[in-house]
Symmetry: C2
Amino acid sequence: MRATYMYAAGDVRVVTAPDPKVVETTDALVEVTRSCICGSDLHPYHSLPTTPAGTSMGHELIGVVTEVGADVTTLAPGDFVIAPFAISCGTCEFCRAGLQTSCVRGGFWNDAQLGTAGAQAEAVRVPYADGTLVKVPGVDPATADEGLLASLLTLSDVYGTGWHAAVRAGVTAGDTVAVIGDGAVGLLAVLSAKQLGAERIVLMGRHQVRTDLGREFGATDVVAERGEDGIGQVLELTGGGATRVLEAVGHLPAYEQAVGIVRPGGVISRVGVPQYADGPIGWPFFGKNATLTGGPAPVRAYIERLLPGVLDGTVDPGRVFDRTISLDEVPEGYAAMDSRQALKVMVKA
Amino acid sequence: MRATYMYAAGDVRVVTAPDPKVVETTDALVEVTRSCICGSDLHPYHSLPTTPAGTSMGHELIGVVTEVGADVTTLAPGDFVIAPFAISCGTCEFCRAGLQTSCVRGGFWNDAQLGTAGAQAEAVRVPYADGTLVKVPGVDPATADEGLLASLLTLSDVYGTGWHAAVRAGVTAGDTVAVIGDGAVGLLAVLSAKQLGAERIVLMGRHQVRTDLGREFGATDVVAERGEDGIGQVLELTGGGATRVLEAVGHLPAYEQAVGIVRPGGVISRVGVPQYADGPIGWPFFGKNATLTGGPAPVRAYIERLLPGVLDGTVDPGRVFDRTISLDEVPEGYAAMDSRQALKVMVKA
């Protein structure tokens, strides 16, 4: 089959790779219908050292089950499924608690221990298929609307991640929320905060095409400035800070901005993987009795909650995709996202 | 009157100071019955630069109202009161939300803006008396049991601070809690966790007299080791980490220990004022979906909740005091706490 590998920073290639096979009795094989490129894929795109064997890429997909191991009980060939970016057994303490990203048996795509490969490919092997995959009832991917497929694909990562930011922040009716970052996750954090009843949503971002979509998703205010200027504007707009701050970037200045704009007693919820080890948690944070929460989103825990709104068209999170390419065009897709010509790129396998 | 001033690191003196006077119509004057020395007073005791005018010391007291301003409505001369370590108006957004340490009008003892002096003195002026002070009904400080006075005094800071750690961590029935620090706040965090129903309480501390008291307050396990050894022991005792970690020290290694022992999805609640600006909040913290919360305790919000148990003898938090001195002996009191000959020193004014 064809699959995407990265060999060094900036060097992405679609190559011929071995077809996936059922290895464990709890595995399923899935033929990929749509995958996509994630903002987090750009981190290795900037920094991966030369890797002769290549790194298998991609962690978001929807697809059709083609084969199941002997112990898979909830899925059968032909099922149309969403695969979250984390693989989870479904039965351990953390899976039962809805924290599948801490599953004691699971892991991720392109995971040496699990022997998984990446999702920017024609097919994947899915360990712990019962625990990991979620069946989408009543949708035939061969005939489904393209917008619906895009929205279903966001449930594999970015929509669930934006939702996680809002849920962990405790967003509730009437809240004043600030969202830092106008990437796909930030925009879907806006959508999620709106769904959870936030009254005021200040979006911090400086790419107008994206912040315009943020307004359509529910942002009431947009602040394009960063740093002290941005902090000052949010403090003024909110009369002293936002009760809930959703940080969807992952770089230190975004966290520093969050500390600056969080209201005393408020919550900073991070879902952008921090690209830093240490950050300010001394008096400016402590003195306000602020809370810092978030982490890798257990999107598996949210799919059942979010799927009905996608299926009935109440929400259309798939609008974060602004380009669709074929699998062979994936290298161009990375370049387009890296140069910000595309917000998020969908891949037709 | 006599009052305590610090003039440099290690240089504490009891001197003659002006008697306090009612300045604002919302003030009260309070004659101090008991005050005490706080672990946090040891920070300037180690680091205060030479200060010719001196710094007025002390922020914990119980006492008797001697005079009230014209607009004080809930207090009268003769009332026996607890004075929290933070002064709060009682009416602003944050006071109404129970976050009196973020009061927009209030402040602290020895606060230049409020014109307050310290509590290690014969008397104090209390701004926003209605918002700040809590009347203790049915107790005559002249005849009250010494243990009761000690327990009432803990409501001005250390008991409320330990309680804040436990409440912000969300301690609830059946929880596994780890408490870092065997100072007065750590021990009262143990007591608070026990009151809130924690099933297992691991106390990290290495002073056996103190950890023995911690066991009496409810600790089920004591870990004397620090650093990686201490983390390893707690992980083993708890089968993978504590759901709630109460950090009552304020130094970076204590926070690092907290990150090491918190269970995925768990909470670190800090109440020791951080003596550091930056700390680890990257992947080891983020990857676990851990939460960091806490801050200066709004003890004013907790006194009504905690007072009945003190008055009826259900709890005796005053046991953290292991030495009582006169006001003139305060310099020796600082030295005794600094050398760890005393856990916490009470001052008879």
